[in-house]
């Protein structure tokens, strides 16, 4: 079994090495594979979701078998911990033997490291599987308006959706504008994670995108000159929504999974999620009742891509690149997309795959629980990372007693 795996992997990597040899390959991939052999890669990844941890454990098993790379997940409660870690190492002058080899990262955390020059790269183009990535999707090239430029490699897609319990809710809100009226009719039955959480601030950003007269300003860094004017409609809308939120908008769940627990407990009927397949995967795992449904707002919702990046001082860069490459392989992407993996759309362009590879992505038997694939076509880009920080700050100032 193991031998077959290894053979298949060799054949696979060989083929892609060949395909990728033509563009600006700084060094042959085989050299990276050789250097990676025997390395232990410490992968700092948010670990609040058991499904993610199980998936990373599976990736570790495959990598040990194919490439003699040991993958250790460093479980994080918050990705910012890894950012702080790299900065602390820089502070201590540890420039070659850092403790973080690979980080699951995007948005503000990427920006924080990239703009201090604390990331290794560009490396993404060196990965043989990079040619399979969907280039038509801007989110794979631009991370919260910051150009990726090869300093991180994509591995998952996320899009904002709303999960509701159809046992209690017949008509969920279909637009941001509809939320206050819906909440008034269902007082205390909706909330979103606290704004310091990425999903919480994403809900505010979604609302800002829908309410502000000219959303294109969100693609540029926030400026004090325009912040008040751009966000005025948001606060007016929020003041109408707030009294009807769960706990009257005074308390919020800590994270997405914590909010999922509230839905399971029956404390709320509607919640945001960044994974269009979360409801389907949760029903399959027995975590949510079969009455849940997923809805995408009209006019599109925020979509982004999760990446992996390598800190500048990682001693196992070759191993980290092998992991990043494996995460992009059709096999790993298909597994991630299945309901037994993580659920959610792939970052690959299916047209670039062989028919056999495409077959692995057989559309999950249409379940009533997840979001319809066509609804997901309409995704809108994330604002510049500076907006998130400024929104959180303003929200805290307005609504913290």
């Amino acid at each position: 079994m193991m031998r077959r795996h290894r053979l298949a992997a060799l054949a696979l990597t060989g083929a892609w090495a060949f395909a990728a040899a033509a563009p600006a390959a700084v060094r042959p991939w085989q050299a990276v594979l050789n250097a990676a052999r025997g390395q232990t890669v410490y992968f700092d990844a948010w670990a609040g979701d058991p499904r993610v941890n199980a998936y990373i454990a599976w990736v570790g098993g495959e990598l040990a078998a194919c490439c003699a790379v040991t993958l250790r997940q460093v479980p994080l409660a918050d990705t910012a911990t890894a950012v702080t870690q790299v900065i602390a190492e820089k502070a201590a002058g540890e420039n070659t033997d850092g403790t973080v080899d690979l980080i699951w990262i995007n948005g503000p955390n990427f920006y924080a490291l990239r703009h201090r020059g604390l990331l290794y790269g560009p490396f993404a183009a060196e990965l043989p599987n990079a040619v399979l990535v969907n280039r038509h999707d801007p989110a794979n090239r631009i991370d919260f308006t910051v150009p990726v430029e090869g300093y991180e490699s994509p591995w998952r897609k996320a899009q904002l959706v709303f999960i509701y319990d159809s046992a209690y809710v017949r008509h969920p809100p279909r637009s941001i504008q509809a939320f206050p009226a819906w909440a008034k009719a269902h007082p205390g039955r909706f909330t979103f994670p606290q704004v310091q959480n990425f999903l919480g601030v994403a809900f505010l950003e979604q609302a800002l995108y829908a309410l502000t007269p000219d959303p294109s300003v969100l693609q540029r860094p926030v400026s004090e000159a325009n912040f008040a004017r751009v966000t005025a409609p948001l606060w007016a809308w929020y003041d109408r929504l707030r009294p009807y939120l769960w706990r009257h908008g005074r308390e919020f769940p800590a994270s997405g999974p914590a909010e999922r627990q509230l839905l399971e407990d029956g404390e709320i009927d509607l919640m945001p999620s960044f994974n269009p397949a979360e409801a389907a995967a949760d029903v399959a795992a027995g975590l949510l009742p079969k009455t849940v449904r997923t809805v995408v707002l009209e006019g599109g919702t925020l979509g982004n891509t999760s990446f992996v990046a390598i800190p500048y001082n990682s001693p196992h860069k070759a191993g980290a690149m092998v992991v990043a490459n494996f995460l992009l392989s059709p096999q790993a992407q298909a597994r991630a997309g299945s309901l037994h993996g993580l659920g959610g759309p792939t970052v690959l362009d299916l047209n670039r795959l062989t028919p056999a590879q495409r077959a692995q992505f057989a559309p999950a038997a249409a379940t009533p629980w997840g979001a319809a694939p066509d609804a997901l076509q309409r995704s809108v880009p994330e604002p510049h990372p500076s907006w998130a920080a400024r929104l959180v700050q303003a929200w805290e100032r307005r609504y913290t007693p």
Binding site: A57, A77, A88, K90, G93, E267, G286
Partner: protein, 581 residues
């Protein structure tokens, strides 16, 4: 007081021959192991609190971080919340524990009480908090038990019974966890006092039991449990994991705010975070100062009250209430753990079902593979740090009894520094020190960082019993020609076996409870059951937390059982009580 004088009078004259080199060095080694990381850590917090941290662009010393700190929204509420929950929980725990001890004085609370307390003592704070949150939530067990037949609720009501803005749930959580700890400390301190004879004598003089306990036992026992009370106060004021789960989030307590800023993606928040950590330190030290002043005041008034000599009081019903309160809290603790156990095997468990509708072993099966490694690390680190702590503490105590210089004895107070200084205030700086020593991310670093917290508790658990042991046993043995080593091994250790084993069990439990130190010293690479549990708890998943929380609780629980079981079986229970009279 007289006990100390007596000991000093009886202590053999300094005998350098009898004190080997390592023993003479024990306090110094201990303090060095302690002070270096704490001092480096504090420095690493103080400098950024005043704007100095070149790595992220802070090169000038300024007060700007403080200005930013006090401009943060909700900072006043956060400080008030920390004070209310911390002071409230400490005051109530002390009153409940003393009331309960007074109520049961002279009666045998028995082994049953102790074995019920053990799981609550052993369970990690985070796991207990998650179980308790489920009990108290509007969709939780208590409401489910009454719904819908009594309340008429088919959907949970929208009432903040956990994460309430006043921090009541957090206070309850702290009580559930700290009352058993203080009770254990008080009971073992009482074991060193001639309680029964004192009460008999008092009864002969016409005192009722409650008055006798409060007037005669309490003043004696308070001195022995003062440090545990300070430790509880410092902990309750700066707790992170429990307030994340049970406390409000907008704003949270001061320590959680500091942690959020320390880990904010915008690293400039680091400066106000360091200032908040220092402010947390000031809050803790200030509260301890106030408590000390209160002690002196109450002591002065209390002496007149005692001297007045009233024999009867109407306190008995109040004391019974305290005993009932302790029982209620213990019940809450045990139910929290039971709820976690049920959740670890629950498939579907929606409101208002009282029991899970479906059971599933899937979670356990999926986790078996991933649990082995953290489990091994957890046990290894806990055993190593507890053993090291036990050796160092025994070394220090022996050294002291061999007539060490008084300054050395005084400086041992510094051991409590890690308990009194909020973790958040020195862990980052300590991480920088470890990185410089190239130790970060190693097991040694994690064991060392755990030792900082394990050792004070081991010292707390052991120092008073050890010091209270009648010196005449040792002197008699020495006179009979036994070597100091033989006296130590054959007289003191067997006589004090129960406190030693309890101290070791406390050490294990403390080590297993450490979250922030493991994350910081282990550079996140050293994965223990606790790091897994808290990380998963941050996801709010009761099923996974149930699995990891149960596993976490089982190890120290086993140790407590051994400690209690081993000594309960002994015929000659230690009764070195007469030395104090």
């Amino acid at each position: 007081m007289s006990g100390t004088t007596l000991q000093r009078g009886l202590a053999p004259a300094p005998a350098p021959v009898a004190m080997p080199f390592w023993l003479r060095q024990a306090p110094r080694v201990t303090l060095a192991l302690f002070l270096a990381p704490v001092a480096a850590g504090l420095l690493g917090t103080v400098l950024p609190a005043f704007g100095y941290l070149p790595a992220i662009g802070g090169r000038a010393v300024t007060l700007a971080p403080w200005r930013i700190l006090f401009r943060q929204p909700g900072i006043g509420t956060a400080i008030g919340l920390s004070l209310a929950s911390g002071l409230g929980a400490t005051a109530l725990s002390v009153l409940l524990v003393f009331g309960c001890c007074a109520h049961w004085a002279g009666r045998q609370p028995g082994r049953i009480g102790r074995s019920v307390l053990a799981p609550v003592l052993a369970a990690p704070h985070a796991a207990l908090a998650i179980g308790l949150a489920f009990l108290l939530a509007p969709s939780g067990w208590i409401v489910r038990a009454l719904s819908p037949w009594l309340t008429g609720w088919r959907q949970p009501p929208d009432i903040a019974t956990v994460q309430d803005p006043y921090g009541l749930a957090l206070t309850a959580g702290l009580l559930v966890k700290e009352v058993p700890f203080l009770l254990l400390m008080t009971v073992s301190a009482l074991g060193q006092l001639p309680v029964a004879r004192t009460l008999e004598a008092a009864a002969a003089l016409g005192y009722d039991r409650a008055s006798a306990w409060v007037k005669l036992i309490l003043p004696q026992v308070y001195g022995q449990v003062r440090l545990p009370i300070y430790a509880v106060l410092a902990y309750a004021l700066s707790v992170v994991d429990m307030s994340l789960i049970l406390g409000p989030s907008n704003p949270p307590t001061l320590s959680v705010l500091a942690l959020q800023w320390f880990t904010a993606p915008d690293v400039r928040m680091y400066f106000p975070a360091a200032a908040a950590a220092l402010l947390q330190l000031a809050v803790v030290l200030g509260s301890i100062g106030v408590l000390r002043a209160l002690e002196l005041g109450i002591g002065r008034v209390g002496r007149c009250w005692i001297a007045a000599g009233r024999r009867r009081s109407r306190a008995a019903p109040v004391l019974r209430l305290a005993a009932v309160g302790v029982c209620g809290l213990t019940l809450l603790g045990v139910l929290s753990l039971v709820a976690l156990a049920l959740w670890s095997g629950a498939a579907g468990w929606r409101f208002p079902a009282l029991w899970p509708r479906h059971w599933s072993a899937a979670q356990w099966i999926r986790q078996i593979g991933t649990v082995a490694w953290p489990l091994g690390t957890t046990v290894g680190v806990a055993a190593a740090s507890s053993l090291a702590a036990l050796l160092l503490v025994l070394g220090c105590l022996e050294n002291e009894q061999h007539g060490a210089a008084v300054p050395a004895r005084r400086s041992l107070w510094l051991l409590y520094l890690p308990l009194l200084v909020p973790q958040i205030a020195f862990l980052f700086g300590m991480q920088v020190l470890l990185t410089v020593c190239r130790l970060d991310g190693t097991l040694i670093a994690v064991i060392w960082s755990h030792l900082l917290f394990v050792l004070p508790y081991v010292f707390l658990a052991l120092a008073d019993p050890w010091r209270s042991l009648d010196q005449r046993y040792a002197r008699t043995a020495l006179c009979l020609g036994a070597s100091p080593r033989r006296v130590f091994l054959r007289i003191k250790l067997p006589l004090l076996l129960r406190p030693v084993l309890v101290a070791a069990a406390v050490g294990l439990a403390v080590s297993i409870d450490q979250y922030l130190p493991t994350i910081f010293a282990g550079a996140g690479r050293v994965v223990t059951l606790t790091t897994e549990a808290v990380t998963l708890a941050s996801g709010g998943d009761r099923r996974m937390t149930g699995i990891f929380g149960l596993l976490q609780a089982v190890i120290p629980l086993g140790a407590y059982c051994i400690a209690i079981g081993a000594t309960a079986a002994r015929r000659f229970a230690p009764q070195p009580t007469e030395g104090r009279s």
